[in-house]
Symmetry: D2
């Protein structure tokens, strides 16, 4: 038996870049967290310590900030693509690069009913995510969001489930359903240079949220499938949507000992444990995912 | 030398209560984190273990949930006041009670342009805070907010400061100013039963944010004072505003080594350390604060 | 084009179970966070809302707590295996189950030099992890640890790296190397019923830490490979070790403006960004990994 | 009614300083988080924006790192005292300075049974805290710890408590008692230059933990008082100890529906809500606390 090096990768994680466009009195802002990950022929760095094939993570950082100026962040996806292709095309030992972004959204402060030119308040709602992976075989682009907390106080049932000797749960035809949604979606063939990713993002978020709200749910599983389907229908360039939904339990609080009726009006929002449902919805002609879902931090 | 018991208090912290009003098809929601703290004659519990004067923290929890139904949460302040007065007036050894609330705001989902009756998305912006302290001497009500992240990309200077042998900072007449604001305000004499605290909250938040945005700043210190002043001017029932502002540093990134000009367009948003500025703004005839600022967790 | 359901799974995450063995005056404690994940024929739950094949996550919770008594937690791996096989063997629609554990370690309080029978202080160092995956094809067992923070103030170099036009980093032959290690390892053929997983854990942790300390490092990449190799050499039942190491940068602070020499004595421990290095070390005859690395939360 | 400036203060929070002593092959390490807070005549900065009296927070940062070299961190308290006195004595508008430290402890890696010269693993248990406040009236020194998680699986009762109409809790004579302790202590007259604060810290921690373990508890309140008393008895220079103890509830899990007996063997460790008990224990001749307890972040 011998011991050998397996998969490996490295990069610079969480560059906190804020880009202001100030060519006119009315500024624009993009606030992102950028991580770059290189995959390639770095075996010697591990096996002998020879760093001759290793572009330092510090260099990747400098490049991320430099591209924030030269490429700009008007489009998150085009910025990520520019970085990824640079690393692969210009740095010899790099075979594949993945650039991951988180975006923190801001909205303009309104002063006396007028939008302010250069003052913002952080929206604080969901975080938008982007990942672009590039190698000699092609380009894979995924989008997503996380920390989108939604709740409905009616229109959610759960009954008819499988029972065994450890089942004590009562079926219900009216409960609170709430989750902190994580969604990721994979684009099929799109022209990186021209596709309107921001419009797609808005349409997908709307489809997800409206379906969560409007669809009468027999289970969180069913709602997730409908949400994924609605997203693909809203943006035909999508070939897959993946959804992760912790079931944030809201338990009807027992007020009977105090002679108080509680008709689903007072709930305890519990922390842990929580149900966790995950599902993928795809088109039936989706191309192979390749490295699209191989997250930077996913190797370990 | 003898050893004696000093100040002491106890209660139940972080009851995560969600209250749905569902008397009509259009539901309402309040989502709060409730902590109750009792101060009084509990010496024996500490000195001998005799719990005869100690109303269990579990009982305080039950009461918090019960009052969410019987009193309701339509007004956060009236709910807190009802709890506090109950503990002092109805539980003999209790001399003073403090009830603290955090509120997590939700906004209705819009489906096809129509507000949905019972589905919400968490706003995710600032957390509203309330504290009511009650004893035989009176009632003290404070409001507040936290986690309100604001940024302006112009209109902020910092120069003319004191220098010593450790000063290397360069003065600037144009920088990013950003903070994650914590604000607390103290009401003077208001009628708890009728005062419109929600309207006051909205007016104060507007005053704080508009002043942050609109006031040309020579320093964060100056901006804080103006914000506090604007809040008091907006809601004359206020007698004091306290503000805590971490200076979330955004450093202009040095791109000169790459021959790239960076005219305050690309910034690194740093984590630590950070400047931390705190100030109180009061009316010149403010009544004594009494226990208004004595937070539950503030004893230790 | 049609839209179809892809991969899906569900379960109960983060059951916070504490198990006390108190058959004698000297108690024992196990403190774990248990997540169970079921994979199988749950399509109807997604497609039509029919829950007939869905064992509720609440039932999985009850089972996790019940097994903490009946199976016990003396061995984390045997507990996880018992749960996983129960779900697959006893619940018809389940094809594969994965049980993941985190363990929080406690050490006995010493009172006057004597170990106390039933009082502990939480160690607070690394968190131990376990994952058991079971289906008709076999059993896959992985172990691991996370949050193990190590630092060496010498014996670490970094030079001879690749340079491009964005490279400004200076090479160094003496720097602080620090990381918050995440490690996972995969066992080959072991007898679940009898293998001493606790001894293996201790041996692997020792191998990782001693190698980090003792190996003179030309780069974090090299150190990681050596750590993985040492772990496999220490426990021959291992067939693969995966390591994730954020390079927690400690920058030598520039005190020259104050006429103070700083010969690698005063450092700023920076938060973000950070280098992130990940690598796998395997035996050259390792069996296929199958679902061993398919984490519960890894689908999305 | 006029509006005026009230209390105000500012400083630099969370300088993450790591100090290595490397004069011999066997290095030493101190890893701290330093915050400095200045109080004084800074009104103009707030009222007019004139920064002439404001020493920048950046300068405070530089000073903190410089003193880490010139004063050193061999004694946390003497380092904090040196910083605080420097700010007050050397910076004209400063009336009072407070320096707060958190220390993260490391232990040497053992390689083959030998302590390594320059490699450490972070202990990960409690965080030690220090605060030194200095002005023309004197010096106030407090120590403390936080995040010390302790648990006892027997020797803890809770009964005989006060009941009202919301009381449903059952009394118990055997329960798990667990907390994540925060403790702070105030020193009376000690010679900053020579007092052995490290020895005092060790003695206090031992007293707190041994009392938690060894004292048969009728309530967490009683245990806290005994812990504070034991600390003062162990270190006679103490004049006050303040303790904050969240009651981390461990609920006996109901396995009766499955015909399984659970004699306090399987517990659910709940997150929220939690009881929160706070108490001060003092000597009967303790001098006034002055600003000793006025934490940097405590104004708001």
């Amino acid at each position: 038996m011998g011991i050998i090096l397996g998969d490996h990768q490295y990069g610079k994680a969480e560059n906190r870049i804020v880009r202001i466009v100030r060519d006119t009195p009315r500024h624009e802002i993009r606030d992102v967290n950028v991580s770059s990950c290189l995959r390639g022929r770095f075996d010697e760095a591990h096996l002998t310590g020879d760093q001759g094939a290793v572009l330092p993570t510090d260099t990747q950082k400098q490049t991320s900030y430099a591209f924030a100026k030269t490429v700009g962040l008007a489009s998150l996806e085009r910025y990520a693509y520019a970085l990824a292709t640079h690393f692969v095309d210009d740095v010899e030992p790099v075979d594949q690069a993945r650039v991951e972004l988180e975006e923190f959204a801001w909205e303009r402060v309104s002063v006396g009913g007028e939008e302010h030119d250069f003052s913002w308040v952080r929206k604080g709602q969901e975080v938008r995510t982007v990942a672009v992976t590039y190698d000699a075989e092609g380009t894979w682009i995924t989008g997503g969001l996380k920390d989108l907390v939604v709740l409905k106080s009616s229109g959610s049932e759960f009954h008819g489930f499988l029972k065994d000797e450890y089942t004590v749960l009562e079926p219900t035809s009216d409960r609170i359903m709430a989750t902190s949604l994580v969604a990721k979606w994979r684009f099929g063939a799109v022209d990186v240079a021209t596709f309107d990713f921001d419009a797609a993002y808005a349409a997908i978020k709307t489809a997800l949220v409206e379906t969560f709200a409007g669809f009468h749910s027999l289970a969180l599983q069913q709602t997730l499938y409908e949400m994924g389907k609605a997203a693909i229908e809203a943006v035909p360039e999508l070939v897959e949507v993946r959804l992760s939904a912790p079931n944030k339990h809201h338990f009807t609080y027992d007020l009977a000992p105090f002679g108080i009726e509680n008709a689903n009006e007072v709930f305890h929002a519990d922390d842990r444990p929580y149900g966790l449902i995950q599902a993928s919805v795809t088109t039936d002609d989706a191309p192979p995912a390749g490295p699209a879902w191989q997250q930077y931090s996913g190797l370990v």
